[in-house]
Subunit: 249 residues, 2 copies
């Protein structure tokens, strides 16, 4: 592994956050080109065929999916482990990561965060309030009911903190940016679990950057991060104007 | 591992096919409950929160995502390996599996196969010919251009046959069922590669079941498979009438 490894993608993405948390847990040095996917240029398309973030570049190796990146970091740098050692638990952890990345991504990012943050502040469009209401009334409770049946009353899902805890918690940072928080009366285990995971140093060290970017116009993200001494990389794959419909998933 | 392991999901799914091929390559005994996702009942929902197939049941362990299942099979039963041993190649193989499962799934299953097979024969609805035409003119060529740049002129992607070859090839069985074949003049490497992978014994042994199911009404699938001596499991999670809109992804 050639440190610092290079990460392409903004701190505001839950998938980038997952990778940055794993890098921090493993003590791997990185720098970051904090682009937003719909600002990515044609070089970005070649790097990331689905135009997803994050992308990891480690020397000649290019990986453009957060789950693949985290497993690569574990294979390359096994200690401290972020996947359970027990084979059955490891499989269950990967399942919960997949559940978070697809279903929680669909609901918390593509419905809530997209409607309440991206549409308003990037595209200057109205929020579809009916969609948001339906999402909050139906989809979010179904997810939280499932999480409530899975998460433990204390500690983490599989003993030590693992990829499963990290993957699930990442989405609640974006949910909070869209002013959503878990109703602790209805889902007490989930609310306490998410608070517990997000309180960890690996999440906390990212919070100042996330909070600042939320208040900063996209063209100023790099400069503001640099002024905060974030590990901003020199190279950029971003255009100056956003393009619609460029993400394939 | 408690053999036979139990697989829930039809032979007609590319994701089920991937798992059945890996089970065959590893020589793991299995039986199968060949349900179609939109025929799944409420027990199926509890088993597979995203209502995806395949589901693997191995004793108490339940896994409901094909990539998680394949990695579990590798962890539990490492020889013969279906993931490359080299860490960088292993990561690239997982990336290609992810590309196949998401992007090729979107295009070959949710556009072509859904429009040309599922809508016609399950829902008795018309094909959206404009969508099919656009998919064939734009999305499919983009995928094949990418594959053409990745696949080798001979042999497999990473030396021995791996999860990457299997994942990619699986979708072309469904494409063939929708009467699509790769234009070998335009994408010669991809056409030859897919033929080479699909010619393997692990794919060939499934073909009689797939071909027969394609000509069989869904309610008769189990009986027909049993008559062909497929390893059909006794338990079933299926209703007798299809339900729309029950898949979450």
């Amino acid at each position: 592994m050639r440190e610092p490894v290079h990460i392409v993608g903004t701190y505001l993405s839950p998938y980038v956050r997952k990778v940055l948390v794993v890098l921090h847990l493993k003590g791997i040095a990185y720098d970051i080109d904090p682009i937003i996917p719909f600002m990515g240029d044609d070089r970005f398309s070649r790097l990331s065929p689905l135009r997803r973030i994050p992308v990891l570049l480690d020397g000649e190796i290019v990986l453009a999916d957060s789950s693949v990146i985290c497993q690569y970091l574990e294979d390359r740098h096994p200690e401290p482990a972020v996947y359970p050692r027990d084979v059955a638990q490891r499989a269950r952890a990967r399942w919960l990561e997949e559940f978070a990345d697809t279903r929680m991504g669909e609901v918390f990012i593509w419905r809530l965060f997209n409607q309440l943050v991206i549409r308003r502040f990037v595209w200057r469009e109205q929020t579809d309030e009916a969609l948001v209401a339906r999402t909050l009334a139906e989809d979010v409770p179904a997810i939280l009911d499932y999480l409530e049946s899975e998460v433990p009353p204390a500690g983490y899902l599989f003993g030590d903190l693992s990829i499963a805890d990290v993957s699930v918690a990442c989405f609640f940072r974006n949910a909070a940016m869209a002013r959503f928080s878990i109703d602790a009366a209805r889902w007490p285990r989930s609310a306490a679990f998410v608070d517990r995971v997000l309180a960890g140093e690996s999440f906390q060290q990212l919070k100042p950057f996330e909070e600042r970017l939320m208040r900063t116009p996209i063209p100023e993200h790099r400069a503001v991060l640099a002024s905060m001494q974030a590990p901003v990389a020199r190279e950029t794959y971003a255009t100056t104007t956003p393009r619609r419909g460029v993400m394939q998933i």
